[in-house]
Symmetry: T
Subunit: 69 residues, 12 copies
């Protein structure tokens, strides 16, 4: 990590496929407006239940990127 | 919750009237620049003291909204 | 507190009126099947947002009662 | 979320297949006696080790449902 | 905040009226012996239950004041 | 731990004798209605004070058992 | 709990005999200057080691009493 | 669990494949020098981001084994 | 603190000189795009190690500022 | 505490007799390979249940010792 | 640590010079009324921001001393 | 971070000079037996008090290194 300054934001991604896919969805969406993303950290994993199955997996993560990179 | 991606920010609202009003003030202010706000969660409730009374109630909350909804 | 044994459950009450009312709603509902309720403790306060206002206040609490009192 | 009251219980599901499957197992089992399940939240992910591999994945979650829905 | 030194104590106020009133009660009582109180922060909100209603609201707070101000 | 599903509940036991005895009291009481109890974990240890001595020891624990084992 | 105001302080008691005795020592000492003590809660349990044995048990607790009761 | 003594260490495993695989990698590596491993618990799940995708999944876990088994 | 609304963001500053300097670096960088900054709070202090010395000090902080001043 | 460097490890001791005895067992076992042990701190207290009684008390502690003292 | 009883209080010191100096300021001030101070522990490090620089460093600490030494 | 496996240990360094120096002391000592150290994270900052001044600064940190590099 250089002497750069990093900013961390909090996002929640969702997916019917599973935990990893919910994270990928959030990163893909964020990449449209944020460049120089560097890392993420899972904060919370939740999901909706429909009948007797998981409906959507919902993963909240912190996402760090270089500020004015 | 759909397969959308959500972003969470942290705000502190203040009020002389009480806890609920401090939250409403922060949401009203945020609504001028953020659309598609969906939920909030109280993180911390503080206040200033003036003499022997509460001066301002100060409530810090997380506020979630649909990203590029 | 006597040598009784206590059980704690977790409930979420909701209200359009405010935090205290959401708690009262949950206690009133629980009182239909649980007797000897003794105390509650707020765990989390959230809410939905509709437009630029709080929609429903949602308060999650622990609720303790005497077991087989 | 309506003005209903919700109850949250804590379950641990297990699976040899992975984290998502352990959660599905717990929800499927709970659905036999609980109706109106709405959401879950992962509290802890553990597992047993057999030799140099994971034996069982064990996921503890909170599970929320409408009370007397 | 100046180069003063501050001390923080922990108090629990109670009220039949609600959360804000329990805090006001504790601050009013503390003001009889402590001067230069500056801020408070809620640590825990609990209450007793009598029948199907909240009996007393009990709010534990940290309370900061200038030391030898 | 097999592929069973476990449920965890929260109990508070009390005793004038000490911490271990308060836990044993809660487990003995719970055993009248719950079978297949497997483990406990202490969450909080409190007590009442009478004069200059501990009155009752009050231990809150999580208690896990096999669901429909 | 009445509409009184309570104050909580933090003490550490020590004993060569065990956890319960360390708590009793702290309460006995505090009772010389504080009246109306009502409850305690264990915050941390530590100890010194001498050779291959526990030397002193050191228990830090919160201790609540009625303010100007 | 017998009257044995257990030791817990903290490891971080990495994988391009996903969360479960990162854990398996850490356990496989640890098994070369540690015998009698019994359980693990996830402490933190992070990852690097390369462009608009997860690069490496990095899972930090506690890993328990029988001491001098 | 007036009835204004405050926003809090999370930044990580780095420095080879030490903890205070890493914070100053982050604040200096943030001041180019954010006005009305009011306070910061350290969340985490980490660092890289090069050989037998600290390489870069990395301090993550929350940083609060008046919203739309 | 001198300018020495200390290392902390995490151990779990077990006993059928109680909490203090489980800690003594872990310290006695550790003393066979570690010298200069200085302090411990309880992290978690659990236990197995056999029928309507505690089977084994299991206490997880941090244990500190002088490094290359 | 002898069989004495210790009390812990919470103070916030401030300084324009840095973190260590803010702590020294609080300890120097406290020493005017408290004797037998033994240790401190940092609880929180904050600061005010003036323009693009840290104004005052504000460090909140627990401070322990022998009771009735 | 490559597909390597990392181990984290917990150390406490001490110094009369300040926080950064206590960390450097611990890293220097650890470097005599551990190679491939990569990062540290501060867990707790404490100190002894002698009279009205800090005696020794004591910083507890996690320290990560490549396992069997």
């Amino acid at each position: 990590m250089s002497e750069n300054v990093y900013k961390t934001i909090e996002l929640t991604g969702a997916s019917t496929a599973g935990i990893e896919d919910a994270i990928q969805n959030a990163i893909a969406k964020a990449s449209k407006t944020i460049h120089n993303m560097r890392w993420f950290q899972i904060i919370e994993t939740r999901g909706s239940i429909e009948g007797d199955k998981v409906g959507k997996w919902q993963v909240t993560m912190k996402l760090g990127f270089t500020l004015n990179g």
